[in-house]
Assembly symmetry: C2
Homo-oligomer: 425 residues x 2
């Protein structure tokens, strides 16, 4: 029998609930794999194997707790945990011990998940990279900011992990690591106990190796069982939305796009260009300015009193954010609000939008986690997104694309994603 | 010379910036008054007089820091502070020491404010009362959840204080204590480091004894100097919005309403009924259900693992919130979104809406902080609100009304509030 850590979360959950697999066995296989691979991948900042095993045994001895019963879970280190430090990728938070779990962690634990450890995040979930390496090639970045969470799932260390996205911090590492990443609709998953960045965009989500796995996790996070129960559609009306920054895509991404669009056009009831707003050209700049302004607000204490312990890049971002004046910010928010209404209208014609996730395969080197430009529009609008892995590019690293759904239609988005993955084979 | 703690924040700020009043003198007067009155009022859970005085002396010795230079500030005990415990009115957080200041606290300190102490909050900023008494009559509640912050300002202990509102937790205690309370537009003040309740409504704001004082504080919280600089309008177009629950108002409130509406009709360019949405009758129930559902999400850890340490009332609310299913919640949010658009349209015809703040004078007894029913619509919609004190009712306790502004128009709202207060004398 293959090691249980190779099972998808959904397969493992089924076996665990039938008691055909013990939580202890699954945990042992995951921990053994972590022990073997962690020196190369470096996904974790905190690991508590003894506690995880004890929790697994306790679950085996009791009733089935919920849909995540017995599943090992890795948690990005910006989620508060009552039993493990929460250091946010910053020396300012070294040894920080929160009193309570983040709400999202509590919901996963209630559903039976076992927190194995905390994963590497970029500095305060911004752009300065952590130490995690891409499981496909350790000379490459895993993407960020949810770097360790994506790498841990991609490397079969754990079946599921939690991440957050403000610009592209779930979708992009999912793309770099060749797994499924889900950013639910804005406002549907509690953020209590998660270190804030930009309040109007920060979203809790996570990673799995299959669409069903990501949907399973998101169903618990949102408290919406429809995410794992919605039947697949008969067909799909797909809107193609390469977006205003499409020229930045490298060949591996454009090849993937053309291949996918062609394949979908052959099977979907409709597959055509989506009519994005006429003034959408600078959407990435609008998102970036609002993010900088809100992040400068949220990190005011760190910015003002711990400047020397922040990276230069983060200080520059916060300085930039402080300089966005109130009038400019109000105007950018007004445009965003109009875009939200216009794009919402698009979903009368399209069930989902197809969009690029990253400009290229994972960047070489560990200094730069990559450019979130293709994720900025959908993060700004708060729309649910799911990254779908679609093979590898010319360097042998993963490529893929994202589907974007209507606000609140996360269940339909996940059903559509399953439909697409079945059709693409 | 009268004691400096009697000065309004704006008066004191002017004297402090001209160095005609020292921060130390102001702090000494505030601390002396706190010492005299705190045994009766019980506004504070933490007070650090020595540190506050040291900070005052340091400010006196240095340059003027900003618009709040030298002003004593009281902070609701759900805001994280790096130098004082943050206990959230719950034994679960007894002795809790956060690593960093809440962003809103950091912004006030940057502007020169001195945190005197942490103020009593209801349990986790929900309905179970703390120990604070109404400064006007200690047998009555100060309102909640920002109980201590409102009482401390009303009693001249400090000129300014921070609070939060999810349903009515700023406007209502302001009404009970006869001071000005401001709840800025949703999403304009950073919430990082503030214990969350309902993510789509939680708003940071505060208290002062005059409109100018509340505007001064809010200008720092929002980073929008227009809040303290906008010239008063020539006249106002006022929409009367008693709302669908108006029948719950007691005589002291209806008397205040009629008196005020009559006085404003005589001086405003327009003063007429606002056309609220046709299906607005159950807006309070919609707000209440969304709040319960989101609070149950945000407090998942406390609800699941510390049930025995929560009040029965809070457990009941969280249980109720968990039972709001995803489909119902989605439908309630869709209605809310439509209401937001409809009410936004009203502001083409009205500069501000006049609405009641509380159903009656402050409740007798300390068990019940009062009903937020009149605040629920505006909290649900995210609109900026300011409570204006307007004398006393038949029990000699304060009464007043609130003005509600358009989303993002906080500066115009505060200018309108000044205009109204000048006209009402």
């Amino acid at each position: 029998m293959r090691a249980a850590n190779r099972l998808s979360a959904s397969e493992a959950a089924r076996l665990l609930q039938r008691r055909e697999l013990s939580a202890e066995q699954l945990m042992r296989d995951c921990l053994a794999h972590i022990e073997a691979r962690e020196p190369e991948v470096r996904a974790f900042v905190q690991l508590d194997a003894a506690s995880a095993l004890a929790q697994a045994r306790a679950l085996d001895a009791g009733p089935v707790r919920g849909p995540l019963h017995g599943l090992p879970l890795a948690v990005k280190d910006i989620f508060d945990t009552a039993d493990l430090p929460t250091e946010c990728g910053s020396p300012i938070f070294a040894g920080n011990r929160p009193r309570v779990d983040a709400a999202a962690v509590a919901l996963c634990r209630e559903a039976g998940a076992i927190v194995v450890g905390k994963t590497v995040t970029t500095e305060l979930a911004n752009m300065t990279a952590g130490i995690t390496r891409n499981p496909f090639n350790p000379a490459h970045s895993p993407g960020g900011s949810s770097s360790g969470s994506a790498a841990a799932v991609a490397d079969f260390m754990v079946p599921l992990s939690l991440g957050t996205q403000t610009a592209g911090s779930i979708i992009r590492p999912a793309a770099c690591c060749g797994i499924v990443g889900i950013k639910p609709s804005f406002g549907r998953v509690p953020r209590a106990g998660v270190k804030p960045n930009a309040d109007s965009m920060d979203t809790v989500g996570g990673f799995g190796r299959t669409v069903a796995d990501a949907a399973l996790l998101a169903s618990v996070l949102t408290g919406d069982a429809r995410l794992r129960e919605t039947p697949l559609p008969e067909s799909l009306r797909i809107g193609l939305a390469p977006g205003p920054d499409w020229a930045q895509a490298e060949d591996d991404v454009t090849d993937c796009w053309e291949r996918t669009a062609r394949a979908l056009a052959a099977v979907a009831v409709r597959c055509e260009d989506a009519a994005l707003p006429s003034d959408f050209a600078d959407v990435a700049a609008v998102q970036s300015a609002i993010q900088a302004a809100e992040t400068a607000q949220a990190l005011a204490f760190e910015h003002l009193w711990h400047r020397a312990r922040l990276s230069e890049a983060l200080v520059a971002l916060l300085d930039r954010g402080r300089n966005v004046d109130a009038l400019t910010l109000a105007a950018l928010r007004a445009r965003t609000e109009r875009w939200r209404r216009e794009i919402d209208g698009l979903f009368e014609r399209h069930d989902v939008l197809l969009a690029p996730s990253a400009v290229d395969e994972a960047p070489e080197g560990l200094q730069f986690t990559g450019d979130p430009v293709f994720c900025r529009p959908w993060s700004l609008l708060g729309l649910p997104c799911v990254h779908l892995p679609m093979g590898t590019g010319s360097s042998g690293l993963p490529v893929g694309l994202q589907l974007v759904g209507r606000l609140g239609d996360d269940h339909r988005l996940m059903a559509a994603a399953q439909w697409v993955m079945q059709r693409l084979g």
